[in-house]
Symmetry: C2
Subunit: 271 residues, 2 copies
């Protein structure tokens, strides 16, 4: 049973969007570990008549490598079902003829192979983790402060995420750092950007009220989806903290222990 209600949309529901890290698996050394029940839960959704997409702010690997990891963990997922910030950013850069200085994890660089990076006129940051050194942040700062019209794109705006050995600072923290250093406002690509959620809805051909987002991040998953007119459910795995249930501005449409419980609620209400 969900402790704090459940969105009353299950009968009209046509599509489900799942966050990945903290919902399907916990990241950490190697591939991380699948969250108990989540492999089976994805199978059940795929066997239903609901559409299913995956929406992640993962920016430490290309979509191909990231999906391969999930497949190794046992998940039935293909690249075309996964939406992530880097391909969305590449589209924006090309559309506006921008040449980025990249401060991203090495593993993500291949996503930007097709983008001109000479003589940069903007900065793109992702979750660079250990590569968020003082020197690398200073380099990104130097590019921005030298531009007449500095533009910063952030692949997500998360505060932190959970790895098997503890909480880790996420890209949003460094976005705020550069915003303050350069007195500018970054453009977020990825969750909770409405453009990003809308691209997933477009791909499913669904309206917001026909779709449900399930995530562990109250602000970026649940709040972001709600901002687009979707329902948002939070799972008590991943970066979930009990204080999320008393948050001052975002209230989930439902809170459940894990993805397995969420999927059972959805499918039971449809029978």
């Amino acid at each position: 049973m969900a402790d704090t209600g459940w969105p009353g949309c299950s009968k009209s529901l046509k599509g489900v969007i799942l966050d990945m890290c903290g919902v399907l698996y916990e990241s950490g050394e190697g591939d991380g570990v699948a969250i108990p029940g989540s492999i089976e839960a994805v199978k059940k959704l795929k066997a239903s008549d609901l559409q299913l997409r995956f929406c992640t702010n993962e920016t430490q690997a290309t979509r191909e490598k990231f999906v391969a990891k999930l497949q190794r963990l046992g998940f039935d997922i293909s690249v075309s079902e996964v939406f992530s910030p880097a391909p969305a950013a590449v589209a924006v850069l090309k559309e506006r003829a921008l040449r980025p200085h990249l401060l991203v994890y090495d593993g993500l660089l291949p996503e930007f192979d097709s983008v001109d990076k000479t003589n940069p006129n903007c900065v793109v940051i992702g979750d660079a983790a250990e590569q968020f050194s003082y020197q690398n942040l200073n380099e990104a700062f130097s590019v921005l402060i030298g531009l007449e019209n500095p533009m910063l794109f952030s692949l997500g705006q998360g505060r932190y995420y959970k790895e098997t050995d503890g909480l880790k600072l996420d890209v949003g923290v460094y976005m705020k750092a550069l915003e303050y250093a350069c007195d500018l406002k970054a453009e977020v690509v990825g969750k909770p950007s409405p453009t990003f959620f809308q691209s997933v809805l477009n791909d499913m051909g669904l309206q917001p009220h026909e779709s449900l987002m399930i995530g562990d991040d109250l602000v970026n998953d649940v709040g972001g989806a709600q901002h687009c007119g979707m329902k948002g459910v939070q799972v008590r795995t991943g970066k979930y903290r009990p204080s999320d249930e008393r948050h001052s501005t975002v209230m989930a449409d439902g809170t459940v222990d894990n993805l397995a419980q969420a999927v059972d609620m959805i499918l039971n209400q449809r029978n």
Copy 2:
């Protein structure tokens, strides 16, 4: 001649407070370099009947080592004339019986020798420069997020400073990063904190209207001093940028090319 006016306080003036980095010298490799005319300007002030204090947000070395560097550069300065954030922070920590986790430059650590640092219940950050690694920032974050009532003290809130090889990110950038990560507001110790300026005024036994602050940082030196009722003059050295003269919220009482020019203006008006 000053291009943009000069505060009309010179006749009632009894004390001058000088920022150090960017006013007396430019930092960089080794000891950095004295700004032309500034050694002589300090001498002239000392030979006048004006009181003189130095007020810095320097947090990469103890006051003793920092003053020794300025002396090597040729400045007539003693430790008792210099106000810096670390001793002010130590006083606050002892007063409130707080045990800090320190994220500061190694050279600053001796300032905190007398403070109990076991089982920390707050975090103090200074300009840690290269020591602002992802790992060290994560450690500070972990301490804060594990506290029921997380408290962050920041030794200054500067955005960046100038070294001989370019602009460098300052402590304020990392303060904003941790503020966002932990959803809290840091307490700033050092400029532009009114408590910090007031302690300098107290030491001189002067009222704000009898004192003038000269610095290269429009917000933290000039704005901070003005907020305390003092006049604030900006020099066009150090981190000064032309856009400072069109700033949306802070306007200097005077803007001059360098300290030498400022001191000549002060002393000429008194004769």
